[in-house]
Amino acid sequence: MALLLHRFITKYLIGQLSLKNFRKGKVLVGETFAQKILAKKSEKTRVEEDQFIRCRVDGLLANDTTSRLMLESFNKMNRDIAEMPEGCSIYFDHYTPPPSQDAAINHKIIREFCYTNNITLYDVGRGSHLHVPIEVGQCRPGMLFVGADSHTTVLGGIGAFATGVGSTDLASVLATGELWFRVPPVIKIELKGQLSEYVVAKDVMLEVVRRLTIPGGRYKALEFTGEAAKAMSIESRLAIASMAVDIGAKVGFFEADEKTEAYIKEYTDKSYDYIKSDPDANYEQIVSINVSEIEPLVAIHPRIDNVCPVSELKNTIEVDEVYLGSCTNGRLEDLEVAAKMLKGKSIHQNIRLVVAPQSQIIFNKALEKGIIKQLSEAGAIILPCGCGPCSGTHLGVLAPEEKVLSTGSRNAPGRMGSGKSQIFVASPVTAAATAISGKIEDPRKIGWGDIRC
């Protein structure tokens, strides 16, 4: 088998190099970030697009929906846990605290596996596996991370090559420290201009989703560049990177810079690599977006690429619930900007506003800054840290015919409860405006809250 694999790779690599470079009339063009990180992790001098390789993985993540299948597959493999630089961590964030006996049993089984095998467990309340790895210094720029969750792409916001896989794939990493990859072609997304007031990173990503559509990034990596990307906070970059998978992409990458360094340094002194694409790297496609032209957007049920400006909605869409949270929009700046809208106001009487911070650290910061108080005084329900409502596991589950304005990343039927409910996805700013108005609302019509409060 090793021989076969070697033969295949050699043949493929030689074919790739000669054909591609013959066509380009060059010896070798520059490399994308994906080529650089994957070459390094596969201990090759260079890898090419669509090449299959085996890589050493820096670390892996799983949550309470995916880790039980992982441990069952791992146990059947009958192997010891492989050494990895950043190890394996499991996070309880979907059924937290457990809403049923079955969910509690699920936690108990996973917890025992962690204790027996000396795996780090972030138990109920610590937060999401899509944010806590940054806070504990486990995931850093330049690293190759895999997670049994599709939104693992979020960690590309700090310059990691991070991607989602399934549970048995992850079990194989646990047993070997390695995984097979196909080197993704890269789509460069240049973000130019400056965001208007009331427009945030989520609106930018919804515009990207609208342009590329659900299958538009399938098997590709997305790299976000340009002045507007540089100007974004790390939390904004994480929001954008999280949704790379929602157009099928393997990775959503922002080159690490001084902002990344400042953000990471708050949590860890551990070292990391700044890896960036060469100026003459080969991009499969370049998409240029002037973010100055973007206005508050909404993705209309039942497709995330069914995006239109809130101002152009033809009918009034009254909603039953507004959800502020998720791996896309459950961070401090999201809570802060929603609180800025809600300050001194009350939510509509027919609305339930559910808020789930991504981590305990974020919750505590929001508490210190008075954000939680402002949200609560406006009528919000503050939920435990985690992912419950976005995934429909518990807390804020929808009945048939109900509608929700969600700051999550998905609106497929049944995602947040009944298959007959409807999900509309928008930014935290639009979410807050909607909570006040009772219908999907353009935040520019509502305006910021009372600044004197």
């Binding site: 694999l5 596969s42 599709s150 794939d169 399938r218 099928g248 497709r303 429909g392």
Partner: protein, 168 residues
């Protein structure tokens, strides 16, 4: 050698989301029977009545997009789907199917050609689909993927061959 599969077609559309295949609230279960019973329960409750063992699932492009849940592939396999043929697959579903030993074939034109109830034959090793007297060629797999499928998934593959496949 991987088997040739033949069976009746169950047809689905494009961009089928794993969240539709099996909703998140079932992810606390790993029993394949429980998962199979709840396939498409929110959006297409009759699906389970249409499926019988040996059926071949034919779908449009980007099959299995969305969540990484391996439960989706496990549920389809447990319901008796022998092979999934689609115009294209979302990458995590594709990986998961290989990992659990559910053969998947990416084949352009299959969705237009086949209707629900048609008889189909699929040669997974050669990536060839025979339908209505036509022969469609699918995407060829690298040898190591065929090898994983021959071992009926990564679990056996790693258990048997870990030391051979390691980089160092």
């Amino acid at each position: 050698m991987l088997d040739k599969y033949s069976g009746k077609v169950i047809k689905l559309g494009k961009d089928i989301d794993t969240n539709d295949i099996i909703p998140t609230r079932f992810l606390m279960y790993t029993d394949p029977e429980i998962l199979a019973k709840n396939l498409f329960c929110e959006v297409d409750p009759d699906f389970v009545k249409r499926v019988s063992p040996g059926n071949i699932l034919v779908a449009g492009s980007n099959f299995g997009c969305g969540s990484s849940r391996e439960h989706a592939a496990v549920a389809l396999k447990a319901a008796g789907i022998s092979v999934v043929v689609a115009e294209s697959f979302a990458r995590i579903f594709f990986r998961n199917s290989i990992a659990i030993g559910l053969p998947v074939v990416e084949c352009t034109g299959v969705s237009d050609l086949c209707e629900e109830g048609d008889e189909l034959e699929v040669d997974v090793y050669q990536s060839i689909v025979y339908a209505k007297g036509q022969v469609l060629e699918g995407l060829k797999y690298p040898e190591f993927i065929l090898d994983i499928l021959e071992y009926q998934g990564l679990t056996n593959w790693i258990a048997e061959k870990r030391d051979q496949i390691l980089k160092r």
